[in-house]
């Protein structure tokens, strides 16, 4: 198993944001993570990457058998774990080429070029390589470049936090193509998404609510449950465990 999250609990202030959460992602697998806003998906992504000094109160995070629960961000990245942010940050004075080259610097292989990575996310190298990665690029463009940077890293596990957010429907195919490409290159993908069609790309899906994984299973069943009961949830973070047990387990 590439990623094993075991009984992780995280408290921020008085809030138990993650509660005995367990999750497993095998090597090369695409695993989608569904859940309404505020259930802790992005916090989980941040905790797995070690951002903002986040460390669990209890539990363990293992990457390919190595305990990374308390590892710094750089060490996790050099072990092959990376994250594409939902709202990528802008950089003054840094070109797209600089950013992709820096991302590629610690790549696990050197058999590809960063121009190809950019093309893969639907952006023309001629138009974008020498542009600054600053506020003049739209959010959608920055999200695509973020994905290209993840590809450039040749990661073992890529956490993609809503890469489809703010992307028009016609472009979803391109994003899906990148996710499949990562998988064919041997990378596992933990895909956080609200979109059913994206979640269905996965071989496994997990449903998250109240800071924990309520169920993991075949994507059609999980997304169908999500559509019927979570999309219009009247009791956010108060899951009906009996119903879930009945319908999904």
């Amino acid at each position: 198993m590439l990623l094993k999250v075991e009984q992780v609990t995280l408290t921020l202030g008085d809030n138990k944001v993650l509660d005995r959460l367990s999750l497993q992602v095998p090597e090369g697998d695409i695993h989608s993570l569904l859940g309404v806003n505020g259930v802790g998906k992005s916090t989980l992504a941040g905790l797995l990457m070690g951002l903002n000094g986040l460390r669990p109160d209890a539990g363990q995070i293992l990457l390919d058998g190595a305990d990374i629960t308390h590892s710094p961000v750089t060490e996790r990245a050099r072990r092959g774990l990376t994250l594409a942010w939902q709202s990528p940050v802008a950089f003054d004075g840094l070109t797209v080429r600089d950013y992709l080259s820096l991302s590629h610097r610690n790549a696990r292989t050197d058999d590809h070029n960063v121009e190809e990575d950019l093309r893969r996310v639907g952006l023309s190298p001629d138009r974008y390589m020498d542009r600054l990665l600053d506020e003049h690029l739209s959010g959608g463009e920055r999200r695509r470049i973020e994905l290209a940077a993840v590809v450039a890293m040749r990661p073992r596990l890529a956490i993609l936090d809503e890469p489809d957010s703010g992307i028009d429907f016609l472009s979803l195919d391109e994003i899906a193509g990148v996710i499949r490409y990562l998988s064919t290159q041997g990378a596992a993908v933990l895909l956080i998404t609200h979109r059913e069609e994206m979640a269905l790309m996965a071989s496994q899906s997990s449903l998250m609510c109240a800071g924990t994984i309520l169920a993991t299973g075949e994507p059609h069943a999980v997304t169908a449950y999500f559509r019927q009961h979570c999309d219009d949830c009247k009791r956010p973070n108060l899951p009906d465990l009996a119903r879930i047990a009945h319908e999904l387990r």
Binding site: M49, L51, N52, P72, V73, T74, R76, A77, R78, T82, L83, W85, P88, V89, F91, D92, G93, L94, D98, L102, S103, R105, N106, A149, M153
Partner: protein, 314 residues
């Protein structure tokens, strides 16, 4: 040290500051090379006239570009003091004739400075519809033993354009005291861009003033400064919107780390109801999300900070 040694030492420092040695050798590039108070070389081009007179502690330079002259290559100015101690005063006058278009690249190198004073006083006149771009890059050694005081008074004629960039991001600054101002006629534009990286006990003071005196004139100041350790920076920018349709904007970004201190004082003065001046300033530490984004790509934290800082100062 003879003049050949001075030239060689300055050329080395020039290279360290990112300069291309070929421009100091090409007969097709207008240039002036001054070490201390010695004029080591001048090379004029058609339409460009230079006069450099030695003074006791520096050089007086008169640089005139004939009206209508358009230069393909920038004019290179190379100033510096090679010994550990010294004083260099550069008094300069730039006259850019009507309709001329010219760019200057100025390298100031003090590679060994322990106790060096570098004073520059420039008077700039940009003629009607002329364009002058002036970029000054400093290379200082690791000691921080330089006091640099550049002062410029620029007047820009109708429809003229003046763009001045000042960059001091390599080596230790020591003490920097910038005093720039530009006075704009109708339809003229001026832009000041200043970038500096203070470390140790460096002291940085920047004063930039733009008078939008002519109708429809435009002014912009952009100041990016990073201070770490115990360095201090003070940025004073003033934009005077004095004429109808004039527009000005001041932008200041300062990053502080360690025990460094940064201050920004923008002054906006508008005396015409159809003028508009804006400003924005941000002082803070390096953005944590930027750092963590780069760390998530495998960069060590100090490498990530360096990438962010160098990007801001590029």
């Amino acid at each position: 040290m003879n003049s050949v040694d001075h030239f060689t030492a300055l050329a080395q420092a020039y290279q360290l500051a990112g300069g291309d040695l070929a421009v100091l050798q090409s007969s097709q590039v207008a240039r002036l090379v001054v070490s201390g108070n010695q004029v080591l070389e001048t090379n004029e081009m058609p339409g460009v006239h230079m006069q450099a007179d030695q003074m006791k502690d520096g050089v007086r330079v008169r640089l005139r570009v004939e009206p209508g002259t358009v230069l393909e290559q920038p004019i290179h100015l190379c100033f510096g003091v090679v010994p550990q101690e010294g004083r260099q005063v550069i008094l300069s006058e730039y006259d850019i004739g009507e309709g001329a278009r010219v760019e200057f690249v100025s390298h100031c190198s003090f590679p060994n400075a322990v106790d060096v004073l570098h004073l520059m006083e420039a008077t700039v006149r940009v003629g009607a519809q002329a364009k002058m771009v002036y970029n000054e890059v400093h290379y200082h050694g690791p000691q921080g033993g330089v006091v640099t005081r550049p002062k410029t008074r620029a007047s820009i004629g109708p429809g003229g354009h003046y763009q001045a960039g000042f960059r001091m991001v390599q080596g230790r600054i020591g003490e920097l005291d910038i005093d720039f101002s530009a006075d704009l006629d109708s339809g003229a534009t001026a832009e000041f861009t200043t970038k500096a990286y203070g470390k140790g006990d460096d002291r940085i003071r920047v004063k930039e003033v733009v008078y939008l005196r002519g109708a429809e004139s435009r002014g912009l100041t952009k100041t990016n400064i990073v201070v770490v350790d115990r360095a201090h920076t003070e940025v004073y920018t003033e934009m005077h919107g004095l004429a109808a349709g004039s527009r000005g904007h001041m932008e200041c970004t300062e990053i502080v780390g360690g025990q460094a201190v940064a201050r920004n004082v923008p002054v906006v003065l508008v005396s015409d109801e159809n003028a508009k001046v804006t400003h924005e300033a941000a002082i803070g530490s390096v953005d944590r999300k930027q750092i963590e984004t780069l760390m998530a790509r495998g960069l060590a934290e100090d490498e990530a900070v360096d990438v962010v800082v160098q990007g801001l100062l590029r």
